[in-house]
Symmetry: C2
Subunit: 187 residues, 2 copies
């Protein structure tokens, strides 16, 4: 049971209201499409900041969502001096406090997370692969620094592009590139 990997660099999701506060605009302009249908990298890059440090040029993904969230790696978290929880996207309760700086305004909110490792999959593929009855799987990664990663969430959307999403720490630790093949292990 195989799929491919997509490595997600740090990024920001914004509500329409927060986009208005930060930038004074209502919609994001597409720079390039992402693999998930309808999702795109926007032309907007913002700075994220904590009392300890800042990271510039963090890409905002589009379209706007029902929640504002900053997804970073543990390496970024050390740079910023914060301790974000590992969470599913959208589950920002108890997330780490962070400031987003825009050209028109700033937002300081507990919305920084480390994203759970997850597999995007549609219902038909999930059924075909016998994964309807599980919410987590393990995934085998190959290569000189391969291994088996635990706690990979099954994230069903319809439609979906079937793909494992990892953050840059997982990608770099295991020497993975976008498009590399991995093996899904049902527990």
């Amino acid at each position: 049971m195989q799929t491919t990997v997509g490595i997600s660099n740090r990024h920001i999701h914004l509500t329409k209201e927060d986009l208005q506060i930060l930038c004074g605009i209502d919609t994001l302009e597409e720079a390039r499409p992402l693999t998930q249908p309808g999702q795109f990298a926007s032309t907007l890059k913002l700075t994220i900041q904590t009392p300890k440090n800042k990271i510039e040029n963090v890409r905002v993904l589009g379209p706007t969502r029902s929640y504002t969230q900053v997804e970073i790696s543990k390496t970024d978290a050390y740079t910023l001096g914060i301790d974000p929880p590992v969470r599913e996207s959208g589950d920002v309760k108890g997330a780490a406090l962070i400031t987003i700086l825009g050209p028109k305004g700033t937002i300081t909110r507990d919305c920084a997370i480390i994203a759970t490792r997850h597999i995007h999959i549609d219902h038909e593929t999930r059924e075909k692969l016998g994964l309807l009855d599980v919410s987590k799987v393990k995934v085998r990664l190959f290569g000189a620094k391969g291994g088996l990663i635990d706690a990979v969430s099954i994230k069903e959307t319809n439609p979906a592009y079937f793909e494992l999403h990892l953050d840059t720490d997982d990608g770099n630790a295991h020497l993975l590139k976008n498009g590399d093949t991995v093996e899904i292990i049902k527990e």
Copy 2:
């Protein structure tokens, strides 16, 4: 079969000759001891550089060795725009080209590697744990981003402080801290 983990940040090993070229000195001053007997973090920090970028304040470990080597993570390798091989410490054949900048001189040499995941162990402990007949093991890592890592080298020295050494990418990807407990799995 358990041990603890030690996370190694990027660092430099130098020969006495290269220390003389870079800094005009013959010996390194100890800032603090490392867990491995006789090894120490020196007071010296140098800059490593490539045509693309540089990283400052890279710690030189002591004492001086029979080889000069820069150990970095894949994340560092992307920052620097180089593609170092995964290697045992000291095996710098085919390593990536890098420049080390010192106050008195510079060295440009193919000596940058990503260190193989490895376990420091002495002969007695290795025998007791039934690991005399293997050179590689797997290691189970626990926590919210746990998993099982492959290709962990058994590195016997006498004496040794029994410990798994991982780079910062592996540490951060798996949310590990120094001293966390891990489980050795003999294949």
